[in-house]
């Protein structure tokens, strides 16, 4: 039995396999329409989510399976003080696979250590969000056709942005990756990601604060939202929330084949006018996320098609 807690739990070969499966699902959806018949996915969402939860549910339905679960800690036994471990053991009696989001870092690992079925980390606080990274990787693959020799700009909240941490980890395994970290001082990438991922893998990176100056050299621009829920102090949130806003003017000096990505939801960090620009890839990213979750569910359930 295998779970996915961190994107680095998957080898590069396994990532390639998932991407190949996702591309096959895109090309031949009918082939996959009933492969999970009789299987149940439990979506345990202890904090709000629209995209990720619906993406998992849509993924399971499109595979012919069923979904049960809850959205919000208040509608689960967590409100009565039940531990994550006990919840995982209980749900193992009802479902075949779990997708779990929890506000605390490491919660998904606790669930995986206690469940008797595979657990997919659908976000554990500011720590990891591996299925978003799967969506990101498929987007890069479909838009760029490669994972090597790319200059990747990561912009916004790099401190609490779990999608950024996971993506940096995944890309660090490819050659010729250059990273540009664009953030205010208070929201810089944590030292442990720089030390353990970038430095350890010899990935060249620079830390800058000016998005406009950095944009011309980028192949990929990964925008993030400054997340209110990660701040203990409302004043800090208000001061930093408008730090970086991507608009048409800033895109003028970007490469014509730049791929603009965002894990969504956005607040105002990408102007709506950018949506019509062919370089805007964030809604494709949403769709690709569903296909990668389908591929992942199949892999973790051991279903060969």
């Amino acid at each position: 039995m295998r779970s996915l807690i961190d994107i680095l739990d998957l080898s590069v070969a396994e990532l390639d396999e998932l991407i190949a499966t996702a591309c096959d699902i895109i090309d031949h959806p009918d082939k996959y329409a009933h492969v999970c018949a009789g299987k149940k996915l439990a979506t345990l969402f202890f904090e709000p989510s629209t995209r990720t939860r619906l993406s998992f549910e849509a993924a399971m339905y499109e595979l012919g399976g069923n979904v049960l679960g809850f959205a919000g800690a208040q509608s689960s036994s967590a409100a009565k003080g039940e531990s994550v471990a006990d919840t995982a053991k209980t749900v193992s009696c009802y479902a075949d696979i779990i997708a779990m989001r929890h506000p605390k870092e490491g919660a998904a690992l606790v669930a995986a250590l206690n469940a008797s079925i595979p657990v997919i980390n659908a976000g554990d606080g500011g720590h990891c969000h591996p299925t978003q990274t799967l969506a990101d990787l498929l987007t890069i693959w479909r838009e760029k056709g490669r994972f090597d020799n790319l200059t990747v700009g990561l912009c916004g909240d790099l401190k609490f942005g779990r999608t950024v941490h996971s993506l940096v980890g995944a890309l660090s395994r490819y050659t010729g990756i250059r990273v540009v970290l664009i953030s205010p001082d208070e929201l810089k990438l944590p030292d442990y990601v720089k030390e353990d991922v970038l430095n350890k893998n010899g990935i060249p990176y620079e830390e800058v604060s000016d998005l406009e100056a950095a944009i011309p050299k980028l192949d990929i621009l990964y925008m993030t939202r400054v997340q209110r829920e990660r701040f203990f102090n409302e004043e800090d949130y208000l001061r930093l929330k408008d730090s970086y806003i991507l608009d048409i003017k800033k895109l003028q000096n970007a490469k014509s084949d730049l791929c603009v990505m965002h894990p969504l939801p956005r607040v105002n960090e990408i102007s709506v006018a950018v949506d019509d620009d062919p370089r805007a890839c964030y809604f494709k990213q949403v769709l690709y996320g569903k296909y990668m979750r389908m591929a992942l569910i199949l892999k973790l359930l051991g279903i060969q098609v």
């Binding site: 690992l109 606080g125 720590h127 442990y192």
Partner: protein
Amino acid sequence: MKIDAIKNGIVIDHITAGRGKDIDRLLGLDRLDCTVALIKNVGSKKMGRKDIIKIDAAIEIDLDVLGFIDPGVTVNVIRDEKTVEKKSIQLPERLTGVIKCKNPRCITSCEQELAHVFTLTDRDSRVYRCLYCESKADI
């Protein structure tokens, strides 16, 4: 200053000066009923200054704690006032229930029954990280 030799017990020697109190605390020596001597800033040819702990009882001590705090220490088991065993200290791969994760966002901060586990993630720099949230260990 004279500290009596112990008859049966343990001597933890070559402790980096200043770390004796951390070892005393994390090994729970302050809770023992027997005589425990924490000798600080002892002159040492090899180390300049060092700390020494003498425990006047044949107790089992957690060598992983020593390996985590100060892997250069030596542990001598004393029986009838003679050293009968020298225990080797290594960096433990995993520490369970020794130190607490201080990250308020970690799952261990809200689930009281959950053991605090740290794993060795960088042997050269002796970096330990929380198994759950990956925060760096802080003694």
